[in-house]
């Protein structure tokens, strides 16, 4: 059975890399004595799949991980056990049991919403007016130009800054720090929070917990 968990990352753990988060979760699951299913082979690992990795330095209130349990367990029970064992700085919001046939979380994510917080973030609103937002980066010694504009869906003012909804996932993905650089803003002055991840279904953005 697949259980999808929604969790958040607070400021104190914003500097823990994705790989380290995976390890920390494995250990939290072990402490919670969840009946995790393991992969076969030489060095068995618990079966867990994370959504789009959160860039280092960001806080978040909308991260997802699919875990596979060997025995059925109620969502309430999973939550109750994990609440006791989550490492400090990680917040657990919801658990949802899903059908075994659902596609893995990482392959279904299409969008993300980000909050850019800080005095200079009003500048980001201008992005909507541009036809192109060229972002130059170096890859394997070659300069590459990427246009960020098509990745942006909406930008709105929110408390303390702006909220950007953009493409996310393996097909097209906006990196928040790329947008900040491309617009010529100072990274050190802007805090970025990932509010949520979504998948597109029938033209609407829905929560990964609602996928079927």
């Amino acid at each position: 059975m697949i259980t999808c968990l929604k969790f958040g990352k607070e400021r104190s753990v914003a500097y823990i890399s994705h790989l380290d988060v995976i390890r920390a979760f494995e250990r939290a699951f072990r402490r919670a004595k969840l009946p995790l299913a393991f992969s076969q082979g030489f060095s068995p690992r618990p079966k867990m799949v994370f959504g789009q990795p959160l860039p280092l330095g960001l806080t978040s209130s909308g991260e997802y991980v699919d875990i596979t349990l060997e025995k059925e367990m109620s969502e309430k029970e999973v939550l109750a056990r994990l609440e006791e064992t989550m490492p400090p700085g990680f917040v657990l919001y919801e658990a949802k049991n899903l059908d075994d046939s659902v596609k893995p979380i990482m392959s279904v994510i299409t969008h993300a919403s980000y909050l850019f917080l800080g005095d200079s973030t009003k500048e980001i609103l201008k992005a909507l007016e541009y036809e192109n937002i060229p972002y130059v980066r170096e890859r394997k010694g070659k300069k590459q130009v990427q246009d960020l504009r098509p990745l942006i869906e909406t930008i709105n003012i929110c408390e303390g800054g702006v909220k950007v909804v953009a493409k996310a996932g393996s097909r097209a993905n906006l990196r928040p720090d790329a947008l900040i650089c491309a617009l010529g803003l100072d990274k050190g002055e802007i805090r970025v929070h990932r509010e949520n991840l979504f998948l597109q279904k029938d033209g609407k953005l829905i929560s990964p917990l609602m996928r079927s």
């Binding site: 400021r11 104190s12 753990v13 914003a14 500097y15 823990i16 890399s17 380290d20 988060v21 390890r23 920390a24 494995e26 250990r27 939290a28 699951f29 072990r30 402490r31 393991f38 030489f42 060095s43 068995p44 280092l56 330095g57 064992t85 490492p87 400090p88 700085g89 990274k187 050190g188 805090r191």
Partner: protein, 604 residues
């Protein structure tokens, strides 16, 4: 005040591994109110190395059990963070609360290896704490402990007090004194009265014209502190679980302290005597409790020679019965060279099969007899055969070069041995590989080889080439240590107080992270020796006489100096000495001197 968090937020791009400075890991201790006694446990290397250290874990948690005390951690900041601290005008701070070290009651450093000493000075400097104890009129007491405290002289002038031996009980006594006394002088005076504590300022040295020591004053000896019964000793079962992958990232349970094998090069084997075992029941309890509280997927039974634990053949199957269904792997950090060890490895590697490592230490029987490594070539070949037969493809062999009286024949013996092992492996699998790793022998204090001359680094390099040139072909690999680094280690490990100026000079001129090849600066060091008028060869390459006063002679590890000399003479004659477990007391002196006994309760 800026915190590490603030720094990371503003300058994330500049810090290679921000996870080192997070400080809120699971089971880390945080206090809301200012504690009565606030101290830092300082490890003079990076987070990943320091967080693997058992002593730090024990001291951290034993102190924090008491709500009146708060022991925080601090590691050597990597140069990226160091630059940021300096640039922002910030003093070095603790990890948990970003409190400047200079505002604490005490900073305690662990002395794990000589080449971390420049990091200690760098950390003090970054903390704006005067490096020399004589210049500190207020601020925290700076103390030290750990294996290198058994020759503390090269760094003695930097410390207010140094703890010799098992530190956990002494540390609690020190905290109690800090709680009850407020003045620096009174605190130090009381700490000086504790067992195993050395106050460098109370001792002075005079020298002969040839540079050797004429006298140490006062004559009073300092006996090491010892925990007699490990079952009664505190052991942390809620250790911090780091987010970053550390060197030993797992539950570590110490199954015994001390080792009686008597390898003559090994300092740990002498200074931690006698063997004191934990009971099987206590070990099992500690493991299960730790797993529950950490969620680790691996357990390691640690000690100087875990295969020697007297109850191992019962303990392992019992543990595996519990661990295997949970997919938790068990590891033994050091295997003995016998088929029993292969059986053990077979038992524990049901979950995951990695390589096997053995340490014959020397290439010929003659040389192994000199160092008292009581292992024969037949033992090794049989063990290797058993390992290959049971499905291992990869065997790693550890050796030392530069041992006393070593000839080229002994060095080439390493190659021959490796080839024989590979040949056996080939009988079972085409994929068989043998990796040979050599370290360069560094004579250490409190060992039978404390009187020896260390091999010159050119000689060590020649021997390394000798191996490299003949250890060729498919399935053979060779790795070695930089002889320059071993030389410096050799100078400091048997150095005296006059070296403190050299270490201070080297640090001032850019030396730090000396164990890290990319940061090691041999030129800075040779300049430092020159500037201070000190000949490093005097310490590393000189053979000492029987009657010479050694810089650590005032420290009593419990093992008699006369026993060490007797062992030295036996080594030169190629005579071995048995383990006292097998033949009865061999007269090293530790049990009567410290009023403790060898405790092999694992077998009960």
């Amino acid at each position: 005040m800026l915190t590490y968090q603030d720094l990371l937020e503003k300058h994330l791009d500049r810090i290679e591994k921000p996870g080192r400075y997070v400080g809120t890991e699971l089971n880390s201790v945080h206090r809301q109110e200012k504690p009565k006694v606030h101290v830092a446990l300082a490890f003079p290397d990076i987070y990943e190395v320091g967080m693997s250290h058992l002593g730090l874990k024990i001291l951290y948690h034993i102190a924090n059990e008491n709500p009146n005390y708060w022991a925080e951690r601090v590691f050597a900041p990597w140069p990226d963070m160091e630059n940021l601290l300096v640039e922002k005008g910030l003093d070095l701070m603790t990890l948990e609360s970003s409190t400047p070290l200079k505002d604490l009651d005490l900073v305690g450093f662990t002395l794990q290896y000589e080449l971390s000493y420049t990091n200690i000075l760098r950390m003090l400097r970054l903390a704006s704490i005067p490096r020399f104890a004589k210049d500190r009129k207020n601020g925290p007491l700076v103390i030290a402990g750990g294996p290198c405290a058994f020759n503390p002289e090269p760094i003695a002038p930097f410390f207010d007090a140094i703890v010799i031996g098992d530190g956990e009980e002494v540390f609690l006594e020190i905290l109690k004194i800090l709680e009850n006394e407020t003045s620096r002088e009174k605190r130090l005076k009381k700490i000086a009265l504790l067992d195993g504590v050395y106050l460098p300022s109370e001792y002075s040295f005079t020298y002969n014209n040839d540079g050797t020591i004429k006298s140490i004053n006062p004559q009073k000896k300092i006996k090491k502190a010892i925990v007699a019964d490990l079952d009664k000793a505190y052991y942390p079962t809620s250790p911090i679980v780091p987010y970053l992958q550390t060197v030993h990232d797992r539950v570590n349970v110490e199954v015994f302290r001390g080792c009686l094998r008597g390898c003559r090069f090994c300092q740990a084997g002498m200074i931690y005597r006698p063997t004191r075992e934990r009971s099987k029941e206590e070990i099992t309890r500690l493991i299960l409790e730790s797993l529950n509280r950490t969620g680790y997927e691996e357990v390691s039974l640690t000690s100087l020679s875990t295969a020697d634990y007297s109850g191992l053949s019962c303990l392992i199957p019992d543990l595996m019965q519990v661990l295997e269904p949970e997919k938790i792997s068990l590891s033994l950090p050091s295997l003995r060279i016998d088929s029993f060890s292969v059986d053990l490895a077979k038992e524990i590697e049901k979950v995951k099969k990695t390589g096997l490592t053995f340490a014959p230490e020397a290439g010929t029987q003659r040389m192994r007899d000199v160092i008292n490594k009581n292992v024969t070539e037949e033992d090794l070949l049989k063990t290797a055969e058993a390992a290959f037969q049971n499905g291992w493809h990869h065997i790693k062999l550890y050796f030392m070069i530069g041992l006393p009286g070593e000839t080229d024949e002994d060095v080439l013996g390493i190659v021959e041995l490796a080839k024989k092992v590979l040949e056996i492996g080939r009988r079972f699998t085409r994929r068989a590989t043998v990796t040979v790793s050599t370290s360069s022998f560094v004579p250490k204090s409190h060992t039978p080889f404390q009187w020896c001359a260390q091999d010159h680094r050119d000689e060590l390099k020649r021997k390394q080439f000798l191996i490299k040139d003949s250890l060729k072909g498919r399935g053979l690999k060779y790795s070695w240590h930089d002889p320059e680094i071993s030389y410096l280690e050799g100078v400091i490990s048997r150095g005296d107080r006059r070296l403190a100026e050299v270490i201070a000079y080297a640090e001032e001129h850019g030396a730090r992270f000396d164990t890290w090849q990319e940061y090691f600066k041999p030129l800075v060091w040779s300049e430092a020796f020159k500037a201070c008028g000190i000949d490093p060869d005097f310490y590393a390459l000189r053979k000492r006489d029987k009657d010479e006063i050694l810089p650590w002679d005032y420290l009593d590890s419990g093992v008699n100096k006369s026993f060490l000399w007797q062992e030295y003479e036996a080594a030169l004659e190629g005579k071995t000495t048995a383990d006292c477990r097998d033949v009865g007391c061999i007269g090293c002196g530790v049990c009567p001197s410290l009023d403790v006994a060898v405790n092999l309760r694992g077998d009960k």
